[in-house]
Symmetry: C2
Subunit: 398 residues, 2 copies
């Protein structure tokens, strides 16, 4: 039942606000999705997430498949019930983890054979199996299995990965549609059209554009996927080590090739600046481990740049992290206390820091939506570019 | 302004309920105090503590003195404000840590010289300094510096430690009274009696009975301290490796030697069974790291004994830890989810487990108070003894 409607179009950029409707509620876009790799956004509770303004979170199919395993999540009636999260969930397909994490991943036409990064056990994913697992997880938005490559990659390698990604996308889509059809038949509504039975299904499958850093290949990939007809589209294979300008160039080229009336998601991005920039390109959805991971490393986002809470200059500092922030952490704790907790490796440090960083990201997205709705997003973007924070330490998404 | 009143006396045992009034509010006794070593009860927030029913928490003077340091806590206006806890705080004196943790602790008549367990730096505590530091921390209930010994210890060693403890108790008390007097004079109420100016002071100092496992020495220690006249009394030097029966024997001997109309606190104890047993001896206050530390090790308390959440048998278990428990964790999460979090070392595991165990302890104390108030504590105690849990893994308090 995934639906998407654009609410407001910026007149000076491609930015837009919209509403994605899922069977677990609505999401107002553009949105940032906190990453809950193993069925928990690290260090915080579901109430913390809601208090920070999280509308949707991401779960990692590869990780959840290995641990706790599909039988556990199936027995516990899906990821939502398992982790006590009643808002939408998007799951990735595992493609990025085969690229970044799995040992000895072997790509064939059929799918990916790999060894678990935990115990070395042998497993195999196919495009069909990726959809099947995500269906068991109960994901609201599933992702097609894709073939992700790093940077730099040759045009030949990029073309190879693109081709495989399209083939797998088609197989995943066919499998999902057959699931939808079975479901529709069991409900005795078999006379419905393909479009309507997929839109009646409780979840949706997105396609992922690949093509490396070659605009020509990105065009081919986008065209092929759009022809297949997905409920939404993602741009994958970005933020894999390329310079920021190149990432922007590829995103700026690719995003407009995706249907205007479908959600557009750039995977694994990024810094606050990246989000502001890419919203201007027409991107609706983002995910990144940056706010949560950096929080656990003591790096905190403020309206005036990032700070590292372990810095000795905060030893006696009675101010909150950011005096303009209304997150739980800033409303109750001083930098001195947070520094002390962090230096002492107290577990509360990780929670308080993560709450602040997630609030920063989600509040930024709220400000972005307000700017688009208010007709001043282009000005907001210019103002944000002037902001001179410390350099963000962007690491790979897990 | 510490006051204590017995509310209800059990007719069959020495158990009693009471109310301790402090400048941060009232505490209903008997009570268990969660341990917040470094200005945070590990893994939980102050809201979690309140939701679990915590009325008072313990802070460790030795730890806080070393990290973040008294200047920090003084600058941040005391431990309560620093950690955002507005209910009473009891601080120990450091005595136990010199025994258990500090490197090369050297005991002299004057005090204790020691090296930090963190960086090896040299420090010295005297009885006066222990009171001074606890005053800076803003503790509601301060403890006298004591000389703690292990088990077994000879009668000679135990006598030595007892003597020193009494001398130090007197010096600490004199120092505290002089502080109170200065404070009273600055308020121009110097005509008050010693008793009234100390009762008007915002905090209180407790004496600690030592004497090892020798009843005769415990009697001497108790008599000497009672003669000095403290607002409350603790029994120290228990749960230091002695068998449970011996611990009970010494506590049972010592507690009745302490004034009926003052709070009585047994330090560093213990298992749920220990609490039920010792309440029957007339003990009003307890502290122990057991519920929080064991939670972080995956050991959870239930009405039917302890479970280790990492056990494979919980893999598909959709039940809460304890189906009769109304803590946040049991109301929202299955054993399967908690096992998964724990096995995956997710930070949320430590918080959810700690919430459950603290709730178990604090709920047990609530049931104990109800039993005393209801006149059926002796029966409650017998019923509890029949309870056959797994063996608790009681480790040393930090």
């Amino acid at each position: 039942m995934l639906k998407f409607e654009v609410s407001k179009q910026c007149q000076k950029t491609r930015a837009r606000t919209g509403i994605i409707s899922t069977s677990h509620g609505e999401i107002t876009t553009p949105i940032f999705m906190p990453v809950g790799t193993l069925g928990s956004v690290k260090a915080v509770s579901v109430e913390d997430l809601k208090n920070c303004g999280a509308q949707i979170i991401l779960g990692n199919t590869y990780h959840l498949y290995l641990r706790p395993g599909c039988d556990v999540i199936s027995h516990l009636k899906g990821l939502h019930k398992f982790m006590n999260w009643d808002r939408p969930v998007l799951t990735d397909s595992g493609g990025f983890q085969f690229f970044s994490l799995a040992k000895l991943a072997k790509f064939t036409d059929e799918g990916v054979s790999f060894q678990s990064h935990i115990d070395g056990s042998a497993h195999k994913f196919t495009p069909e199996k990726a959809v099947e697992i995500q269906t068991i997880l109960g994901s609201d938005i599933m992702m097609s299995l894709d073939w992700c490559i790093g940077h730099p990659a040759t045009k030949q390698e990029s073309m190879e990965a693109l081709k495989k990604t399209t083939q797998w996308a088609k197989r995943g889509l066919d499998f999902w549609k057959s699931q939808c059809l079975e479901s529709a038949e069991s409900l005795q509504v078999s006379s419905l059209s393909s479009e309507s039975y997929t839109s009646g299904f409780p979840n949706a499958l997105f396609g992922i554009v690949q093509g490396g850093m070659y605009k020509e290949l990105r065009s081919i990939s986008a065209e092929q996927l759009v022809e297949l007809g997905f409920p939404g589209y993602a741009v994958g294979g970005l933020s894999v080590g390329e310079p920021t300008d190149l990432m922007y160039e590829i995103a700026d080229h690719t995003v407009p090739l995706l249907p205007y009336n479908k959600p557009r998601y750039v995977m694994g991005v990024g810094t606050p600046e990246n989000l502001v920039e890419m919203v201007g390109m027409g991107v609706d959805m983002f995910d990144c481990v940056m706010p949560s991971r950096n929080a656990r490393n003591g790096q905190l986002f403020t309206g005036e740049g990032t700070i590292n809470i372990s810095n000795a200059k905060f030893r006696l500092d009675s101010e909150p992290i950011d005096k303009n922030c209304n997150c739980y952490t800033c409303q109750h704790y001083s930098r001195a206390y947070l520094r002390h907790l962090y230096k002492s490796r107290e577990l509360l440090a990780y929670r308080l820091n993560t709450i602040h960083n997630l609030h920063f990201y989600l509040n930024l997205m709220r400000q972005i939506r307000e700017a688009i709705e208010g007709g001043y997003f282009a000005e907001f973007q210019i103002g944000f570019k002037k902001w001179e924070g410390d350099q963000y330490d962007l690491r790979k998404s897990s």
